[in-house]
């Protein structure tokens, strides 16, 4: 296949009908190739730029705060003469440091995903992967009488890094159980379907749901939580989004408070 740029000039007779024409054709395949490259390059740049904006946001919101706290606590200890207050301030330093280290480790982990462009995709069986992940949740599923249903009959295979698929399933299932409704037993449905070359995975629950009107722009941000839960860290969905996007896919959700949430993950170019 090749690209041609053609200009046709008709010659008209007295009745204004064309009786002959001149066609000028030029092979523009190289130019088209360059254009395609440019489009790819520009969307990669856009992605990189968004990553940089996100990173600056994280530095400003998530790293500056704890560093200030440590410095202010140390100042306070130096200035105060009250031994009891000193001890109290001292006891507050350690949690800030461990918080800072946690955020730092999370950042490193997410940057590793972004930079690991060489990660190997393999053909994965969705049902088998889901079953394997569910084994780890067996105690929780029994404890909370959770019902898990899955149906991969429409599309059962994807080409994706195993580590990422496991992380996506683990995080979404864990969230569905963690943010279950106190009024009903949790029910989780995992399904997949084909969409042209892509595969769409959906994970639905009947849990607490998230108020999207309030939180839509924060759902996948690092250190954002939407329910008062002692184990809520605001890292799972951030990591899932990072992994999905690193492979060119996308993630979004529907949610209604007190009804439940459905997460959609689109795996790109799955022509298996």
């Amino acid at each position: 296949m090749y690209w041609v740029d053609t200009t046709i000039v008709p010659f008209l007779n007295e009745e204004n009908k064309p009786y002959r024409y001149v066609a000028i054709r030029a092979d523009i395949t190289p130019r088209k190739k360059v254009e395609e490259e440019l489009v790819k390059y520009s969307s990669a740049l856009e992605y990189q730029n968004q990553q940089l904006i996100d990173f600056c946001y994280i530095v400003s919101h998530n790293l500056r705060g704890p560093i200030l706290n440590i410095s202010m606590l140390v100042d306070f200890i130096e200035k105060t003469a009250d031994i009891e207050k000193q001890t109290e301030a001292f006891s507050k330093i350690k949690p800030v440091i461990s918080h800072l280290m946690e955020v730092f480790d999370e950042l490193v982990e997410s940057i590793q995903v972004k930079q690991d462009t060489e990660i190997i995709s393999e053909e994965l069986d969705l049902e088998e992967s889901t079953k394997k992940v569910l084994i780890g949740f067996k105690p929780l599923i029994e404890k909370y009488k959770a019902e898990v249903h899955f149906d991969f009959s429409e599309s059962d295979r994807i080409d994706f890094p195993r580590k990422y698929l496991d992380s996506i399933l683990t995080n979404l299932i864990s969230n569905a159980i963690k943010y279950r409704s106190p009024e009903r037993d949790p029910r989780i449905e995992i399904k997949s379907k084909k969409q042209n070359e892509d595969v769409l995975l959906t994970v639905s629950d009947n849990g607490l749901g998230i108020d999207l009107e309030m939180h839509r722009d924060k759902i996948f941000k690092i250190r954002k939580t939407f329910h008062e839960h002692p184990d809520a860290r605001g890292f799972g969905l951030f990591m899932v989004k990072t992994q999905v996007e690193a492979m060119g896919g996308s993630i979004w959700l529907d949610s209604e408070p007190d009804k439940g949430s459905t997460f959609y993950i689109q795996f790109k170019n799955q022509e298996l």
Binding site: C56, Y57, S60, H61, R64, G65, L68, N69, S71, M72, L73, F76, T80, K85, E88, A89, K92, I93, P95, V96, M214, K218, R223, K224, T225, F226, H227, E228, A232, G234
Partner: protein, 133 residues
């Protein structure tokens, strides 16, 4: 000089709350300090005490990044409540964010008295209380 009867800190950050409480106590200009760990708890309290001048704070130090209801959402809900309140409340945003987006967004809020980038210092606090009088 007039004393501040109630000052409220709306922040989920334990170290910041501790330090600010100490600093406020040190100024000797404030009678009561209350702490709310997110916007929702603070809003519920204000709503419940909307007609109660004794309980409402004169000053709120508001953090932006909090779980459940963050500072922006608090401001949005608060603006609907504002005319019905028994007391004029001065809201100061206190954030560790140095992002220009946040500063601009804060400036656009009519019910925000000022925007303070942490660390909050005793001087900040004293000038804030003085402005109130």
């Amino acid at each position: 000089m007039k004393r501040v009867h109630n000052l409220a800190i709306v922040d989920d950050d334990d170290a910041f709350v501790f330090l600010t409480k100490e600093m406020v106590a040190e100024t000797n200009m404030v009678d009561n300090i209350s702490v709310f760990k997110n916007g929702k708890v603070a809003l519920d309290f204000i709503e419940m005490n909307r007609g109660n001048e004794e309980e409402l704070p004169e000053i709120i130090l508001l953090d932006l990044s909090m779980p459940v209801m963050d500072g922006w959402q608090f401001l949005e809900k608060y603006s609907q409540l504002d005319p019905a309140l028994a007391k004029k409340i001065s809201i100061y945003i206190c954030t560790s964010s140095i992002s220009p987006d946040d500063v601009n967004r804060a400036k656009a809020q009519s019910n925000v008295s000022n925007f303070m980038v942490k660390p909050v210092t005793p001087e900040n606090l004293i000038s804030m209380i003085r402005q109130l009088n």
